[in-house]
């Protein structure tokens, strides 16, 4: 996927968009309203930025009643992140599987 990095760089090149994404990374899931309150731009502008982030796979939306909640999708950053971080996540999961297997081997 030669273009995966380009898309991510382009998406995060906008400082306002990057700030929104970083805030979701730091503080977890937020509604559009939460994000607008501190973004210094209008709600439609925030929604537009969130749409671009969503298209790049960097955020996910979840509808609950009339509210839409957004959360950061850290996995989307994989093409940008050093292999050691990716492998650490990989081994964490594998060790969980190993633990499950060892339990089953008892029976």
């Amino acid at each position: 996927m030669p273009n995966a990095q380009d898309v991510l760089f382009k998406t995060l090149a906008d400082p306002t968009r990057r700030a929104l994404f970083e805030r979701l990374c730091r503080e977890g899931e937020k509604t559009v309203g939460d994000l607008t309150a501190r973004a210094g731009i209008s709600q439609p502008a925030v929604s537009k930025h969130l749409g671009v982030l969503k298209q790049a796979g960097l955020v996910r939306d979840r509808h609950e009643g009339r509210q839409t909640h957004y959360s950061a999708q850290l996995g989307a950053l994989a093409p940008l992140i050093d292999w050691t971080s990716q492998m650490a996540g990989f081994w964490q999961t594998r060790f969980d599987h190993l633990e499950d297997l060892l339990k089953r081997m008892d029976q």
Partner: protein
């Protein structure tokens, strides 16, 4: 190739299991058990044996057994070839088992390198370095 591009990096994962080393050793060295927690494989606990690990995603790792010390140490290469150099990886995985009072301490260390993607963006994207470093920390904490 400059120094940064060939720098060796290491990932370690440690966990204690309430079972004797012999049991962990079986999970680490018997192909049908390896498949259950790691990947499909044609592993044999023989130094010099070449084998593949096949991931669910279709990726195939080229491996060679480097060290076998029953119930103590297992080491093999873990190489991934990809058309895009950014995804290439040449590394060595070493499992070390240490008996404890209540079971076994397992340490996995993966050392290796691959051409650093960040390096490719070096000059033109110098400003990104710090941002990416921050993101790595965020991701590490998210684990």
């Amino acid at each position: 190739m400059n120094e940064a591009a060939t720098e060796t990096r290491t990932v370690t994962m440690e966990r204690e299991f309430p079972y004797p080393p012999e049991k962990l050793w079986r999970a680490l060295t018997q192909p049908h058990l390896i498949e259950e927690w790691l990947m499909k494989n044609d592993f044999q606990p023989v130094v010099g044996h070449n084998f593949n690990l096949r991931g669910d995603w279709g990726g195939v790792l080229d491996c060679e057994v480097l060290a076998v010390e029953p119930n103590k140490t297992l080491s093999y290469t873990w190489n991934f070839k990809h058309d895009d150099a950014a995804y290439n990886l040449a590394s060595v995985v070493t499992f070390t088992l240490t008996p404890t009072r209540s079971g076994t301490h397992l340490r996995m260390e993966q050392s290796g390198f691959r051409p650093d993607q960040k390096q490719a963006y070096g000059g033109a994207h110098a400003g990104w370095q710090k941002f990416l470093a921050n993101l790595e920390q965020v991701v590490a904490r998210a684990d």
